[in-house]
């Protein structure tokens, strides 16, 4: 694979990968996703409404995630997103690529710093 192309693809896909991995274990609603990203990145990554939801809808449209309105007692109606079977496959592939990329970077940086 052309390394430059692969990197561009990865950058574009990284936001998607974050969302997919966050709902891998269980369905979450939009606000929860944005909060988790912010928390776990220590505030370094922040998705605001105007970029998060278009992304969610795009993923939904591709069939990678599926949103469903859920009403719980004493709570307002919220839309929960879960990973579809296809989404699960895509996530696995993206994680693999990501690890290969990181491993490649590590190889280079470790050799330079040795």
């Amino acid at each position: 694979m052309d390394p430059i192309l692969s990197q561009t693809k990865w950058k574009k896909g990284s936001a998607e990968m974050l969302i997919l991995s966050l709902i891998e274990a269980r369905p979450r609603h939009g606000y929860e996703i944005s909060k988790l990203i912010e928390q776990r990145s220590g505030g370094a990554v922040h998705f605001h409404v105007a970029s998060l939801y278009p992304l969610l809808y795009r993923l939904e449209r591709r069939g990678w995630i599926q949103g469903r309105w859920v009403e719980k007692a004493d709570q307002r109606r919220r839309r929960y997103y879960r990973l579809t079977r296809q989404g699960r496959r895509i996530l696995a592939a993206q994680l693999r690529e990501w690890r290969e990329f990181v491993a490649g970077i590590n190889c280079i940086t470790e050799t330079e710093n040795a």
Partner: protein
């Protein structure tokens, strides 16, 4: 608490989303903003600061931009749509899905509707396939529209269309200016021998110019040249079929010698598989040949003025010359022919010379079946209309149960246009399903129908469902959908919302307009069915009259076969006379046989007419059928003797020349006086014969044709140059009257003939009953096919009236309940329903009868011995139709009488 939605909606506005989708997004986003706002407050921000930070997340244009590419064309409205905005095509897929779901919900209705349409569309497709194959598809030749057939005619002598005589063809060839090429052809039976059993085949003598004119290249070798198209050049071109079955498709056949009528011929070419010539359809020379030899007119033939009108002529128009110009040219050529006619012949023809007529080849080929095909096309068109009307009434009935659904959709904001579109979509889905099933029906139907086509009809024996036919089906299906969908669609979409929602289910007041519309459709169905039934009824009556017609002879227990001799084996008249004499004597000795005779032609298939001269008169006779008989011909055939005597063995060369004529000839030639003893005969050479007997009339042409004047003479009085004419021996048919089943004598009779000459090919073996059957095969086929469609029409119309009444009974059960509660008897209720049905059927009957009076005139040419407005047929059809209608009404009427007043009223 801040209101987030207005902020969000303002930002979504430029996207023009569907309202439901817009609401969904704003719900989700406002939820998010609220969560965020609450978190910020919890973290200690002031309300004002938290509000601003939260709102900042929307980033003014960014949201709309981000959503734009995703939401465009993405959102699908939920089922049961409210208002559709945007363009007309939006939601078509949804309409189709909805239509399919609705149709699946009522499988009974869908099955009946699809089946009805499939029958209509299938019948149309089957007939269109045949019509396309015969009338619409160009002939398989190069530039076929430029090909014309030439014929001669002697209108004043009663010959409206005959072939062309060789000397005339020569004149035409010399003096015409309209054609690039011109050639003659003639069917000819030949016996192929050598390398296997002798075999009689259909061949054709064909001018060399014909092959290049048709533009068909041989598969192997070549066709012959003008130089080879001369008497004495023995070359032959094989047809693909003969090449395959007799010569096993060997390519080394080119250059080899085969034996035709015991003459050696060199094979120079093989034509491709699909090459067919002559084409079936024209009156003469219409049998596709298996082998072609040069036309090669002999000098004798070229001198045969006023004779041998058995050649067909094909010509190709010059580029730029119109049909009209060619006709004008043909008139000029006619004067040329007149100028060179020998005076003696001109005198015989009473100064009448032939006129030359032109017919486009396509018309000559398809003309004989054109009327039939157009009638069938019209018939299936009517069947389809009936099917449409049927489905329309079904849809209307269904609409009753759907008025609530429609009302809800209207209340939700569905526009009328949208509802009509939805209804039409349902119609289209039904029609296309019907179309697909119809193609299957057509596929079986076409091959089934064509397998029944008798050989006397110039219809193909196979036809393929090609692209044109598929295009036809799709078009018909779509048109059908519009035709049966439009009225119910308009009717349904005008549902009154409030009324329908308040109405208590199916017991509500029946919709008057809907009822009227249904009544209209059923009446129309019956009217259409009446037209078809009357047409079929006329054909059936005509056919039954036809088969009851006596052909003038007794066709039972008669076996016939053709015994052609070839000039190469039998060049002397004496030899030929002796052969037939011996053949008859030997056959007569067989057991199980009553009598045996022979003749040059047989009833029902006499084609040759000759012009004779009555002694002492200047004018000649009209064209007469001339039959030469051997043996006990009249008693063998069962032709009654009316007056005088029949031929005896004493009537032979040297004795007084005698003749027997039929009643028609006696009436025509000697009206009011006794024909016995009068003299008439062939003028060249002058051979007058005394009439010694008068016999009954016999059908010369197909059964049902008018018997013409007939002239019988004893074979053994024929001069030698009649028996062998231009090196051709006129073939003789042997006729055997048996006391047992006639076909059982086939082998013994053939064996007796072969014992005289083992190499002889005996052909055309059949019983006279078979001949009778094949003579009426074409009208039988017409009757069967039209009868089939009429039955289909009646069946569909019966289903239609049944459906409407059943629905009406269901609708009126409340009313019927009240009536019965008030003391109405079952009989009254039954009467009420039956009268409803009868009114519809009678209306249809009246309209249909009037229409049929106008339309059946078109089919006069297919009718025998009855008038196109035959009152008996009309009355019979009316009876059958009313009976079927009442039967169809009886079931719902009985159901109505079973209405229990208590149950019917409880629903209120």
């Amino acid at each position: 608490m801040p209101e987030w939605k207005p902020e969000i909606l303002r930002r979504l506005a430029p996207l023009n989303l569907a309202p439901t989708r817009e609401a969904e997004i704003s719900d989700e986003l406002s939820q998010h903003l609220e969560d965020r706002y609450q978190d910020l407050l919890a973290s200690g921000q002031s309300e004002d600061a938290a509000f601003r930070t939260t709102l900042d997340e929307l980033k003014s244009d960014l949201l709309a931009q981000g959503l734009k590419s995703i939401e465009r064309n993405f959102y699908r409205e939920p089922i049961v749509p409210g208002n559709a905005n945007g363009n007309v095509f939006e939601g078509i897929v949804q309409d189709v899905r909805y239509a399919v779901r609705m149709l699946m919900k009522s499988p009974g209705f869908t099955a009946i509707a699809v089946l009805t349409l499939a029958l209509g569309i299938g019948a149309n497709t089957a007939i269109f396939t045949i019509v396309h194959g015969v009338l619409l598809r160009p002939l398989p030749f190069k530039d076929p529209s430029k090909l014309l057939m030439l014929n001669e005619s002697f209108k004043s002598l009663g010959f409206r269309e005959v072939g062309a005589s060789p000397p005339d063809i020569a004149v035409i060839e010399r003096s015409q200016k309209s054609f690039t090429s011109l050639g003659a052809f003639q069917n000819k039976g030949l016996v192929v021998s050598g390398g296997g059993e002798s075999e009689h085949i259909t061949a054709a003598r064909v001018s060399a110019s014909i092959f290049p004119m048709l533009g068909i290249q041989p598969l192997l070798g070549s066709t012959y040249t003008e130089q080879e198209d001369r008497p004495g050049t023995h070359v032959a071109v094989l047809g693909y079929g003969l090449w395959q079955h007799r010569y096993a498709g060997r390519s080394n056949i080119i250059g080899q010698t085969i034996e035709l009528d015991r003459n050696p011929y060199t094979v120079i070419g093989v034509m491709p598989k699909n090459f067919q010539f002559p084409l079936p359809g024209p009156k003469y020379n219409n049998e596709p040949a298996e082998l072609w030899i040069p036309m090669a007119f002999t000098p004798n033939e070229l001198q045969g003025w006023g004779d041998q009108y058995n050649n067909s002529v094909l010509a190709r128009l010059k580029p730029g010359v119109t049909f009209k110009e060619a006709q004008a040219d043909a008139a000029l050529v006619t004067t040329q022919i007149r100028r060179v006619y020998p005076p003696a012949i001109a005198k015989l023809f009473n100064g009448v010379t032939p006129a030359i007529g032109l017919t486009p080849l396509h018309q000559a080929v398809a003309g004989s079946v054109e009327t039939l095909l157009l009638i069938l096309m019209g018939a299936v068109g009517l069947v389809l209309l009936i099917a449409c009307a049927n489905v329309a009434t079904l849809l209307l009935s269904r609409a009753a149960s759907r008025s609530k659904e429609i009302a809800i959709r209207t209340a939700l904001g569905a526009s009328r246009v949208r509802l009509i579109r939805q209804m039409l979509t349902e119609g289209l889905v039904l029609a296309l399903a019907g179309g697909v099933l119809g193609i299957l029906i057509a596929f079986w139907g076409t091959s089934g129908l064509l397998s029944l086509v008798p050989s006397s009809l110039a219809l193909p024996h196979s036809a393929s469902l090609g692209g044109w036919v598929l295009a036809f089906v799709v078009t018909v299906s779509c048109l059908t959908a519009v035709v049966f969908g439009i009225a119910p669609a308009f009717q349904v979409s005008s549902v009154q919302v409030q009324g329908s929602l308040q109405e208590s289910g199916r017991n509500g007041t029946p919709n008057r307009a809907r009822h009227r519309l249904q009544g209209f459709f059923v009446t129309a169905e019956f009217a259409l069915a009446v037209i078809l039934l009357i047409s079929a009824g006329l054909l059936i009556r005509s056919f039954s009259k036809l088969v009851e017609t006596s052909p003038g002879f007794r066709s039972d227990h008669l076996l016939t076969m053709s015994v052609p001799l070839s000039f190469e084996g039998y060049s002397k008249a004496a030899q030929i006379r002796q052969f037939y004499q011996q053949a008859i004597e030997r056959i007569a000795r067989l057991p199980g046989l009553k009598s045996v005779a022979a003749s040059n032609d047989l009833p029902l298939e006499s084609e040759d007419h000759e012009i004779l001269q009555v002694e002492g008169r200047l004018s000649s006779t009209p064209g007469m059928t001339v039959t030469w008989t051997l043996g006990d011909y009249f008693s063998t055939m069962g032709i009654p003797l009316i007056e005088g005597r029949v031929f005896t063995p004493e009537d032979r060369i040297g004795s007084q020349p005698v003749a027997v004529i039929n009643e028609e000839a006696a009436k025509l030639l000697w009206p009011g006086t006794d024909a016995l003893g009068k003299r008439l005969g062939h003028p060249f050479p002058n051979m007058m014969r005394a009439v010694v007997g008068i016999v009954g009339d016999v059908n010369d042409g197909p059964l049902g044709s008018k018997p013409g004047p007939h002239f019988y003479l004893p074979y053994f009085q024929l001069p030698a140059d009649y028996i062998v004419y231009n090196n051709v021996i006129i073939p003789i048919n042997v006729v055997v009257r048996t006391s047992t089943e006639p076909a059982s004598l086939t082998s013994p009779v053939v064996a007796q003939i072969r014992s005289l000459d083992p190499q002889l090919a005996v052909t055309n073996i059949r019983t006279m009953d078979q001949e009778m059957a094949s003579s009426v095969a074409a009208p039988k086929f017409n009757t069967f096919v039209l009868g089939l469609f009429a039955f289909l029409a009646l069946f569909l119309a019966a289903i239609g009236i049944y459906g409407v009444l059943a629905y009406s009974v269901a609708q009126q059960s409340h009313e019927i309940g009240i009536r019965m509660a008030l003391g109405a008897q079952r009989r009254d209720v039954m009467q009420l329903i039956l009268i409803q049905g009868a009114r519809l059927a009678l209306g249809g009957l009246a309209i249909g009868t009037l229409a049929a009076l106008g339309l059946t005139r078109m089919m006069s040419s297919l009718l025998y011995s009855i008038n196109a407005s035959d009152p008996l047929t009309f009355a019979a059809v009316a009876t059958v139709l009313l009976a079927v209608a009442l039967l169809a009404c009886y079931i719902p009427a009985r159901r109505a009488t079973r209405v229990d007043p208590i149950i019917a009223l409880r629903y209120e």
